[in-house]
Assembly symmetry: C2
Homo-oligomer: 396 residues x 2
Amino acid sequence: MNSKKLKIGLFGFGTVGKGLYDVLKRIGADNVEICRICVRDLKKPRDVEANFTDKADDIFSDPEVNFIVELIDDAEAAYTIVKRALMKRLPVVSGNKKMLAYHIEELIDLQQQYNTALLYDASACGSIPVIRNLEEYYDNDLLTSVKGILNGSSNFILSKIFNEKMSYPAALKLAQDLGFAESNPSLDIDGWDSLFKLIIITIHAFGLYVAPEKIFTYGISNMNDDDIRFATEKERRFKLVAHVEKLSDNRLIMSVMPQLISRNKYIYSVEDEFNGVVIKGLFYDKQFMFGRGAGGYPTGSAVLSDITACLYNYKYEYKKRNDSQLPTYTTDHSFRVYYRYTTAEDLALLKFDNISENYISDNYKYVVGNISLTELHKVQEQLRERNVFIAAYPRD
Amino acid sequence: MNSKKLKIGLFGFGTVGKGLYDVLKRIGADNVEICRICVRDLKKPRDVEANFTDKADDIFSDPEVNFIVELIDDAEAAYTIVKRALMKRLPVVSGNKKMLAYHIEELIDLQQQYNTALLYDASACGSIPVIRNLEEYYDNDLLTSVKGILNGSSNFILSKIFNEKMSYPAALKLAQDLGFAESNPSLDIDGWDSLFKLIIITIHAFGLYVAPEKIFTYGISNMNDDDIRFATEKERRFKLVAHVEKLSDNRLIMSVMPQLISRNKYIYSVEDEFNGVVIKGLFYDKQFMFGRGAGGYPTGSAVLSDITACLYNYKYEYKKRNDSQLPTYTTDHSFRVYYRYTTAEDLALLKFDNISENYISDNYKYVVGNISLTELHKVQEQLRERNVFIAAYPRD
C-alpha cells in the first residue's frame, strides 16, 4: 500500500485543520497531499496558500480527491460530509466527537455496507491512541473499566485554579486564547465533550452504544471557592472524570462528573491541557496512558496517524460489537458524593440512600452521602441550573 | 476470522506460561485452547491437568496444533522453535526478548518468506502495548525518541531501596520470590533485559536494527549507599533507563544505563515492578504509557492480546524498515554523567570531554562531567568489574 498516494479533501481549517496542514508541511510527506480545503468563510484572511473553496461539491466532484478529512465544528454538517464520503467509498477521517456520539451506529453500518473506512482516533483524547488501543489490544474480555480525563480544556482550567489560584473566568479565557477550548465553552466545561468521547470509547471497549441523553453528565461550571477549599482540605483535587465500568452480571455504568481525586491516583497528576486514561483489566491491573489532549499540533498529528493508517488499509473492526453477550446499560448504581447546596429545596432535590456527613453554616452547606446514578440523572438539568455543586467522592 | 479456533502448542510453563494458562482458564475463551505444553522437566510437580510433553516434535507433529506460543527462558531453543514454526507456516507468539534482539532481522525475513505472523508485544514491557503502538500509531516521521523503564524487576529493586530503605540483596530476593525477576538476575540488574527490549522497540520505532554488542549497557548492580545518598540529596532517584533518540542529521543514539531522574519527570513516579515509556514526537510532544511490566498475569494477558490479534490475522508491517532514509547508528554523542570511583586508575579509565564537579573524601570520590557514548562503550566491561558506578545526570 506504500505506493498509494492520498489526495485529501479537507473540511475545516480551524485549530486542528491548520494543525494538520502545518504538520504535513513540516514532515514533507510525499504520499499525502491536501488538494482542496472547504471552509465556511472564504473571506477570512489565512496566511497559507492553498486551494480553498466554500462548496462541499467542489471537493466531492474533484476526481483527484481520494480521501476525506473532516475537522469542522458543526456536528450535523460533519455528519452529512462523513455519510456522503462513505457512500462514495472515500475513506474518511473525522474529528467530530459530537457527530460520532449521535450517529456512530449508522456510521458503523455504512462502513460495512460500503466497505470503506472511517477513522476517528483523533476525536477522543487528541494525541493519545485510546481507540486504537482498545480496538487492537484490549479486545478480549479482560477489560473491566476505562476512566479518565478526556477534556483538555476543562482540565487546563482546573489546573490553573488549583495550582495557580487563578479565577475561573481568567482560566477559561486563557484556555480559549491558547486554542484549547471549543468555540462553545459549555461543550468543555459542562462535560459534553467528555461525554461524547466516552460514548465513542465505550463502543470500542465494551461493544455497546449508549445514547448521550441516557448518561448522567455534569461539569465544573458551578464549582465555587467553598468547593475548592473543601477539596484542598481533604488533600484532593477536582478533576472532570469520564467513566465506564463493567459491574458484575455484565451490567455497564457510565458517567461524566467532577470527582474528588486523591494524591495517590494517576489522574491526580494530569495537569493543564493533558489527558490521562486509566484502563483496568482483570489480569493486567491498571494501564495508564497520558498525553496532550488538545491543541492544533497534537490533534493534527493524531489526525495524521489516522490518515497514515488508511494508507495501510486499516479499519476498525468493532470486535466487541460481535460479542454474543453485550453488557446491559444501567444507572442502578450507588456511590458516595459531595453535594454543596443553598436551599432546603436543593437538598430535597436529591434522594440519597444515606447521608454520612452534614455541614451547615450561614454561607456554606454540604452533605456527603450515597446516591444512585438513576437519581442524579433524573435531576441533571436542575443540578446545572441551581446554585449547587456535586462531585463523586470515592472512599479510597 | 472469528470462527477460527486456535489450538495452541505452548512451549514453557514458567511464570508467564502458567500466567497465560490461568488467564485463558479464567476467561473461558472458546476459540483459544492450549492443546499441548512442552516443558523441560516432565517430572516437576504441576498443579494443572494438561497434555504435557518434553519433546518439541510432539507439538510440531500434532496435526491439531495450528498456533505456537513460545515462553521459554533459553534464547537459542526459543530461536529454533520460532524458526521451525514460521517455516511450517504456523503463526507464533514469542516472549523471548534475548532471542528477538539477536535474530529479529532473520525472523522478519522468514515472516515475509512464509507469509506467517510472529508477534511479540508481550516481550517488551509486559502489559504495555508499546510495539503495537509504535507499529500502528507512531508510524510517521514525527517520532523523535522513546525512553523508559523497561525492566520491572530492577525497578522494583530500586523502588524498595529508595522508598523503603531496603538493602540491595533483600530487595533482589523479594523480586525473585514474587516472580518478577528472570532466573538469571544479571539479565535484569545489569541492563541486558532492557537492552533486548530497546533493540526490539528501535526496530519498530525507527526501522533500524542495531546489534546488542554495539550499545552501551550498564546496570545497577554497582550502586552503593554513597550513590543513593548523592541522588537523594539532589532530590533525584536512580532509574534504569533505556533510551533511543533520533538526533539531527538522522543519526540515532541508544543506551541503557542508570539515570538520575528528577521529580518533575514522568518516570520518576514509576514504582515497583511497573514499566513506563515516554514517546516523544515533533508535534505531539510527549506521550506516556504506564503499566505492569512483569509478573505472570500481566505478561500472560499481554501474550493473550498477541494471540487474539492473530485471530484477526494481524501482522507487524515493519513500516519504518521501508523508509528510504533509515537513520545511522552512532555513539558520537556526549552528555553529563555522575561517576563514582575508587582509584586514580578508575578515573583515568574514562576520557571526559570536561569535568565540572570533583569531590574527594577518604571513602567517597566522584566527578560530574561530560563524556561520549563512544568512550563509555569502550570500557563497558571494566565499569562493571571495578568498584565504580556511573549514571547519566541530565541537566534539566
